[in-house]
Structures are given as structure tokens and as C-alpha cells.
Assembly symmetry: C2
Homo-oligomer: 200 residues x 2
């Protein structure tokens, strides 16, 4: 039976490692790339390599950026006194699409998950505490995902920040419980933001 | 509203061009690659560039290969007197999985589609005729997709080859009509191969 070995097999294997890409999709992407022009394939590899080389975490909010501080942190028009805490960079994009929020962000790069051995020290919590001690912050909005890990993270942060006299709020469960922030529609996300309540 | 510009936006745009990858999937793949190790990202870009540099069409059967003639064409154990004509390289892989067929292949790189302006001259038909004139071929099995374009291509080839005294067969419609060869299960494909009939 004929099977690809060498460059085609390597390409399919490399593509299979991408999230949500199974063997069939990897094969289809591989043949697409082999049929594509040299220029298009090079545009893709250049984009990957350039992003890997230039993109890093913002020294303030830990979001991914190619400038430092990032676009949001260095924008003088945004409210410096409110920080919205999210799990991942994609959550910042999701919230920005609602056009409801004009404050700062803080990206944790994950959520507390004892099952996966992820504790607060694996998240950008120290960086958040540093921001809170250095600046006058009137509110921290916790916008972690409305699932087990996100709720655990929200509770942890609330217990950590409340004794510091900081107002800590949680976005409302307008989101379907058990879901992920990334997939909520913009109206639901906007309503969730509006209906945020102080953590007791 | 904050949106990525620069390297992250470029990466998302480049990934969006892949087939079946919408803006949301492109964003997820981009953040995955940004979080991945340098080594993993480089493995992917190297695999793409190496495949683009080394993989070309076999001078005999037009399948994609990094050696010439390809693995199938240069295999002395395979029957040289039967050629199975398919639309795309992925169809060769699908047929090989049935383990029923031990002959040669010919990859057309498409199908006749007046709607898309693709005629016989855009396919590897000349290359097929050259093979048929140079070699003793007892049968040509046409395994183009069982949809409009594939059937049109099969009919065209049958009318072209029959006057040359070559036995031309078509794989049976064990496949769901209107579907695509790539997604058929292996048993159905094997039955379709067995039940092939001569084109009248």
C-alpha cells in the first residue's frame, strides 16, 4: 500500500499538531499548500516566523503584543482606573468587540485547574498584584470563563483582592454556564458586562 | 476598539486563507502558534517550506512526489497494464487504503467544469494519452468523483480512449451520488472498485 513518506508525510504530521486539525484536515491543508503558489506558502511561513519573533507579552497587562506597552496599555483615552481580568488574549478581542468597555485588561494566560495541575503561581497573578499596588484602581472586573476553572479563578482573585480594599466585580451569568467566553455573541457579552455584581 | 495590527493580524490573515479556516479558527490557530514553542513553530514552517521545495508532480502519473518517478510508478511489484485515473492526489491515498488495487494511477489535477472554466486542456489528459501510446495498457479505470464534474470527465475520457481500442471502465456507484471520493469509507470504495463496468 502506498503512503506518503518524506516531505509530504512530514507536512501532514506537522499540520496535524494544530488544535482541531485531525488527519483528514491536515491532509487537505497539506495538498492545498502544495498546490498553492510559492508566494502564498511563503506568506504563511513568514507570518508565523515574524509573529513568533516579534510578539511577546506586554510588560503591563501580559496580553500578546508586538509593542511594549501594548496598544491598550499605551492608549491615553482608555480608563486607567479599571482592570478587566481575562484568561486568554482571545478573550480581550471578544470583549473589545462589544465596544462597551474602555478600561484596561489583565491577561492571566490560563485559569486555576487542580485537575491539570495549574495553580495561581502558573498564572499572571503576581503581575496583577504589582499593578494594583502601583496604581489607583477603583475596580477589578473578573471576566474569566463561566466554567469550573474560571469560577475558581474568580473566587481566588476575589479573596486575594478584597482585603486590599479593591472593588472586585464578576461579569454576570448572561453567558451560558459551562460555555466559553470566546463563543458568546456580542450582545450577550455586553449584557454580561453591564450586569456585573460585586463579589461577596 | 482594540484590534490586532502588525504581526498578529498578519498571522491571522495568512491562516484565514487556508481552506475551511474561518476568522475564528484562524484566530485560535494563531494564538496556539504564539503560545507554542519556537521549535514546534519552526517544525511547521520548515515542513511547509521543505515540502514546497521538494515536492513536484511525477513525470509519469502526475501525482505529487518528492522522487521521480514516484513511489507507485517505480514499484516493480505493481501491475503496469492498468491505470486508475483520479482527480486529485488525495484520491490516490483514499484508493490505496482499500488495499484492493495494485495497478498504476494517473492524477488529472481537477475535473472538467464548464462553470469554473476548466476544460480538458487544464487537466493532465495529454500526459495520460502519452502514457497510453507508449505502453501496453489493458484497462483504464476512471475513478473521478461521482458528481457532475467527475461524471463529465469520465464521459469525456471514455469517448477519447474507446476509439483507441482501450478498455475503459468506471468505478461503480456504490458511492453516494453527489458526494466526494475522499470521504467514502474504505468498504464502499472497495465495492465500487469491484463493481466497475465498461463504459458504453
Amino acid at each position: 500500500m502506498f503512503q506518503y513518506v518524506g516531505p509530504v508525510a512530514n507536512l501532514i504530521a506537522a499540520l496535524s499538531k494544530l488544535p482541531g486539525v485531525g488527519p483528514k484536515t491536515a491532509q487537505r491543508l497539506a495538498f492545498y499548500l502544495l498546490h498553492a503558489s510559492e508566494a502564498e506558502a511563503k506568506a504563511l511561513t513568514d507570518a508565523i516566523l515574524e509573529a513568533k519573533a516579534k510578539v511577546h507579552q506586554c510588560s503591563v497587562c501580559c496580553n500578546l503584543t508586538d509593542i511594549d506597552p501594548c496598544q491598550v496599555c499605551s492608549d491615553p483615552l482608555r480608563d486607567k482606573s479599571i482592570i478587566c481580568v481575562v484568561e486568554e488574549p482571545k478573550d480581550v478581542l471578544a470583549l473589545e468587540k462589544t465596544r462597551e468597555y474602555k478600561g484596561q485588561y489583565h491577561v492571566l494566560h490560563g485559569a486555576i485547574s487542580p485537575m491539570e495541575g495549574i495553580g495561581p503561581d502558573d498564572l499572571k497573578v503576581k503581575e496583577l498584584l504589582k499593578r494594583l499596588s502601583g496604581q489607583e484602581i477603583r475596580e477589578v472586573v473578573i471576566a474569566t470563563n463561566p466554567n469550573v476553572e474560571g469560577e475558581a479563578t474568580a473566587l481566588y482573585l476575589a479573596r486575594l483582592l478584597k482585603p486590599m480594599g479593591i472593588k472586585v466585580t464578576r461579569i454576570a451569568h448572561g453567558l451560558p454556564v459551562g460555555g466559553e467566553l470566546e463563543y458568546a455573541d456580542e450582545m450577550t457579552l455586553a449584557r454580561a458586562f453591564e450586569g456585573r455584581r460585586e463579589l461577596e
